[in-house]
Each structure stands twice: as structure tokens, then as C-alpha cells.
Amino acid sequence: MIQTRPYEFMVKYTPQRDWIEGHGILIAFAMFFGGISGGLYLASLFFDSLLGMFIAWLLAMVAGGTDMLHLSKPIRFWRMMLKPGSSWISRGFILIWLFLGAAMIQLALSQWAPGTAETVFKVLAGIMAFGVAIYSGFVVGYVGAIKLWNSAVIPILYVISGLTSGLAVLLLVHFNKSSATLLSVADYLLAALVVYAVFVAIYFWVATYSSVTTRDSVVRVLRGNIAPAFWLGVVLLGIIVPIALVAPFSVADNTSTAAFAVAAVGTIIGGVMLRYVILKGGLYSPLLPAE
């Protein structure tokens, strides 16, 4: 007997696989590195941390490299800059290169010729850093085919996530600084984490009511196969643990290297897991009813 085979990916809610399975997972890392790089640079500008700026520059290199590694034809990477008029990947790739250039000049100037020119490049690199942090949110948010992604909240969420992760890195590199500076970074991290938690909640709450497809996505994230990554990675490690570890010291005006280190690492892991959960939770609506 010949059996016809219905294509399940078009008659049922179908998870997107191209950007999460196999080497597609590199996209999640590219988005994370872009976010953390932009967030770290902005945080470093605020705290005037040259080391933080340098690490942000390195992380932007890693973001661009991961982006290229994700390509099936990495040798043609330069072509990704050819359509900034319509493609967010193109815009993002250009922003990464511009950030790398501006931040490199700024770092060089701060080392050998501090002054007005350095300030100009700080402003320029800061603008590019914001672009690097936010562009991946637009890359995802622009995709109308996947309803969970097609949200105005995503770019904001990605920037806030980038900032929290950036502040976490800054916390790690400031252990040798005065306790006042360390506490100040911890205070800002705490505030950013609270805002981040609110936006994570808003994002998934809004998605629940957007469409049947997004509700199905949220169910998968909260109770399905992605739930461990969400609850353990994003919520516990990325939000609850860092807040629980930083808040007491912030209130008591004390510092604890061990607690802050664990909080920072948790925040960073949470940032990666957020990208993973959002990419993994993306579903296509069925083209045909299957019930």
C-alpha cells in the first residue's frame, strides 16, 4: 500500500529550526555577543572603564566572527553589508564593523592622545554600541512569519539584556577597584535586572494574548520542552539568583566578591539562555488545518 505523507511542518504548528539547530545555534550566540558587547561598552562609558571598553571591543569581534561562522558560505561574508536599505542583518553587520573601527580609534586615542578627539570617538562608538546591542532585536522582531518574534518588545528586551550582561562583565572586571565603585556597578546591575525581569514578563504575557500561535509558543516555553532552559536559565540563573545575591549587599552598602561573581556569571548565562529560548520558541502557523 502506498502511503501518502502529509508534511507535518506545514499542517501543524512547526518550530523554526534553521536558526537554532545544528550550527544554527551560532546565531543565538552571535545575538548574545552583540548584545553584551554593546551593553558593556555603554556601561563602560558610564563608569569610564577602559578595560570594559576593550573587552566590549573584543566581544564585538566575537559577535562578528560568530555571525560569519554561522554562514554556509563564510568566505562571502562581505556580501552581508550590501543591503542596509532593507535587511537588518546587513545593518547589524555594518554597525559591528563601524563600532569596531570607532572603538579601536577611541581606545588608541585614550592610550596615546587623550582629549577632544577621544571624546568624539567615545560618542561615535557609544552610538554604534547601542546599534550593536539593539540590531539583533530588530533582526528577530522583523520576522512576521514567526509570531512570537514579531514583537515591538524584543528590541527593547535585547538592549536591556545586553546592558545587564554588560554590567555583569563590568562587575567581574572591577573586583580590583574600590568597594565604592564595585558597589555602584552592583547597584546599577540590580536596577537593570529588575527592569529586565519586568520586560521578560511583559514580553511573554503580551505574547500569550497576541495569537493562537504565540500562545502555543509561550506554552512550549513555560511548560514544554523549552521550559527547563527558561525556568532554570533565564529566570533562576539569570534573574532570581543575581538579584538575591546582589540585593542584600546593595541594601547594606557592602561588597562580596564571591556573591557578586556568582551573580555576574548567572546574569551572563541568563542572557545567552534568553536568546536560546526566544529562538527555540519560534513557531510557524500551520498552512493547512490538521485536526
Binding site: F9, Q16, L71, R76, R79, M80, M81, S87, V143
Partner: protein
Amino acid sequence: MRWGMAIELKRCVGCYECVLACKAEHFLPPEIFWNWVLIGESGKYPSVTKLIYNVRCNQCADPACVKVCPTGATQQREDGIVWVDEDKCVGCRYCMVACPYQMRTIYENGNKGYFPGQELTEHEKIGQVLYPHQTGVVQKCVFCKERIDAGLAAGLTPGVDREATPACVINCPTKAMHFGDLDDPYSEINRLIKEKKGRPFHPEYGTDPSIYYID
């Protein structure tokens, strides 16, 4: 000029001939399809309807894939056909993710033949010469643009003359598929769409497809 297709669902028997014709026309490698036959059901017993849709790239007038492509590899011709320039594609898969119809596929394993463990057949070897496919780039239905272009150059009319019409259309044994110019108000395809109330697949996606389905 805007090439389009009309598919009469009541005539389609789900024989997969359109899928096979496309495979043969473009020498598509294993696991690569440019069109599919979707089978679903709606309703509950005893009022159940079996749905058979043969689907392919909708050659949308407002395609999401063209907008998101960062390299310009995915392009739209003046006659509305959306195609991928394999020499420009970097394989970022953004177009695959962005297509709400999921009509794109990436060709990754270039060494895979139809008969694993054996060398390629003569047919497969000829295909590699006549219709070479690059690995690591995105593929999709192109409305058999080569047939259309060659047919037009020879003074033929796509949709009327077999040689200038997409392979899936001319090979349909029940004549469920029709091809023609959507911009020509007197074309056969436009008459069919108007008379039989043809509708695009999921118009709510907002991409203005060029394929119409007739109940």
C-alpha cells in the same frame, strides 16, 4: 507583466506528479523539493473534508524574503519571479526563517546521491552538468524561469505553449494547474480566477502571492 498560477483544488488528486516533474526538470538532489503536496483534514466525523494543496513559492509581489536578504541574492524580476542568485547567497537562512509559507530549502549535502553507497547514476551526473546546484545556498521554485525565458525568446506564450510553461503545470494529469499573466485582464488565468473566485493562500500574511487557489 506578472506571472501567476491558478490551481483548481477539486481537480487535484494528490498524485505528486507536479513534485516529480519539478524534480526531473531541475535535477533536484535528494531531500530537496521546490514544491510539495500538503494533505490535511478539516471538520469532524462524519463531516470531514480532506484538503489537498500542492504548494510552492508563491512568487509574492511583496516578498518578505527579498527584503530580509542581506546580500541581494534573493531578487525579484520585473515579471514578478523571485529567484536566488546562488553566487551571491551566503547561506544565512534569514529568507528561510522569514518566509511565512516555509517554501525555501537549503542544499547542504552535495555528495548525497539517490542511491546511498553507490556512485551517482548517469542521470545524476548529467544533472550536475546541465543544472548544477551549489551547496550551502538557499533554493526555491522559480516558476521554471528558464523555460519561460527560452519560450518568450522563441515567440511562444507561457501558459499557452507547453515549451514555455512551468514543468509542474504541463505535467499535471488532471489539468488542475493553470499559468499565465496576472496583469493581462484577458488571460485565461485571470478569467478563471474571476469566474471561480480564486483566492491566494493565506492572504493575511500580507505578501500578495501570485498563486491562486480555486475551490
